[in-house]
């Protein structure tokens, strides 16, 4: 396996694991509260819809000339990757609440109970919530599978990595019979953000006509470079947050500045 293929498989596996854990929480909540058969029907319908998306877009993508494909895919991966990375950085720095599967499970369970009495037979609420949860969480993974796979002409490898992640999450969910709250979601999202941004940068530049020093080996510098930069930003944000917390009481005592304003200024300077 080349470094590109390892990166492909790892990125898809991590992204799919994170999204599968989130989808599992939703399905568990509506299944346990309303109807397992309706919730699982929703899962099945969403899986079919996702398979149709992959089947329709996969051949269309692989039919593009390689340079056009790499610019298109590189741009998309960068846009996705920078969104994942931004949110993961904000969570790591303590500026955004971390995803809590137990809290999500509690909220979904309450919403399912509040949705009214369950009638015998097919439960529309359980079906719809499961379908939407799996489809929305899965759509991004389907996109990552397609773009990563098409760029290296290895869609089957990307699909296998995604399938392995789903199988592992489902098996863990069945074993635990509870949301997988101990999965280090933010760390995994951080890693996915780094990988998507790195591969997006690499393929985008190549597709646009640039040549990387060392060709494919450049990835061995790009991935650690993005990781170091992201961690440096987390460090700077934490320092700014600490400085703002220390500054806020002084300003509050002086009566001139609200704590949030002091924190805001500190962050802008980060």
């Amino acid at each position: 396996m080349s470094s590109g293929e390892i990166g492909l498989a790892l990125s898809v596996f991590l992204a799919c694991t994170v999204e599968a854990v989130e989808a599992l929480t939703i399905v568990l909540a509506v299944g346990a509260t309303r109807s397992w058969s309706s919730a699982l029907s929703g899962v099945g319908a969403a899986t079919l819809a996702l398979a149709a998306v992959v089947a329709a877009l996969g051949p269309a993508l692989t039919a593009l000339p390689i340079d056009v494909l790499r610019v298109f895919v590189g741009g998309l991966l960068l846009i996705f990757g920078l969104q994942w990375l931004r949110k993961a950085i904000l969570r790591s720095a303590g500026l955004k609440t971390k995803h809590d599967e137990l809290e999500t499970f509690r909220e979904e369970t309450e919403a399912a109970r509040a949705a009214g009495a369950r009638r015998p037979g097919f439960d529309g609420y359980a079906f719809t919530i499961s379908f939407k949860g799996v489809l929305l969480e899965g759509l991004e993974v389907a996109f990552i599978v397609l773009t990563f796979g098409a760029s290296q002409n290895r869609i089957p490898l990307a699909a296998a990595a995604a399938a392995l992640a789903i199988l592992l999450v489902v098996a863990a969910g069945i074993a635990a019979r509870a949301p997988l709250a101990k999965v280090p979601e933010n760390t995994m999202k951080f890693a996915v953000g780094v990988m998507l941004s790195s591969f997006g940068m690499f393929w985008g530049a190549e597709g646009a006509g640039a040549s990387w020093p060392g060709n494919d080996a450049a990835l061995l510098a790009i991935i650690p470079g993005v990781l170091i930069a992201a961690n440096a930003i987390v460090w700077a944000l934490r320092r700014a947050l600490q400085a703002a917390s220390a500054e806020a009481p002084l300003h509050a005592a002086g009566g001139n500045t609200q704590p949030s304003e002091a924190a805001d200024r500190a962050t802008v300077g980060a």
Binding site: I79, L82, Q83, R86, T97, A208, G209, I222, T267
Partner: protein, 72 residues
């Protein structure tokens, strides 16, 4: 018409997300890379610089918003 608009808004939200400036910056950086490469100039350095700049700017905007509206 409303469904088409809803679909297009959904696609926009799915791809671009909540930070259109970053998406635009990525497109412009790729365009600059293509222009430089076409002119025979080494252009590999454009994307790393652009990505770093876009990420820092995006974080600065998001962090500012977060401070003004504390996380729930």
């Amino acid at each position: 018409m409303r469904r088409v608009r809803g679909f297009l808004l959904g696609v926009w939200d799915f791809i671009v997300g909540d930070d259109w400036r970053t998406a635009l910056g990525v497109v412009l950086a790729l365009g600059l890379t293509a222009l430089l490469a076409d002119a025979g100039v080494s252009a590999w350095w454009v994307m790393p610089l652009a990505v770093l700049g876009l990420l820092v700017q995006s974080i600065r905007r998001a962090a500012g918003l977060t401070f003004r509206t504390p996380p729930r």
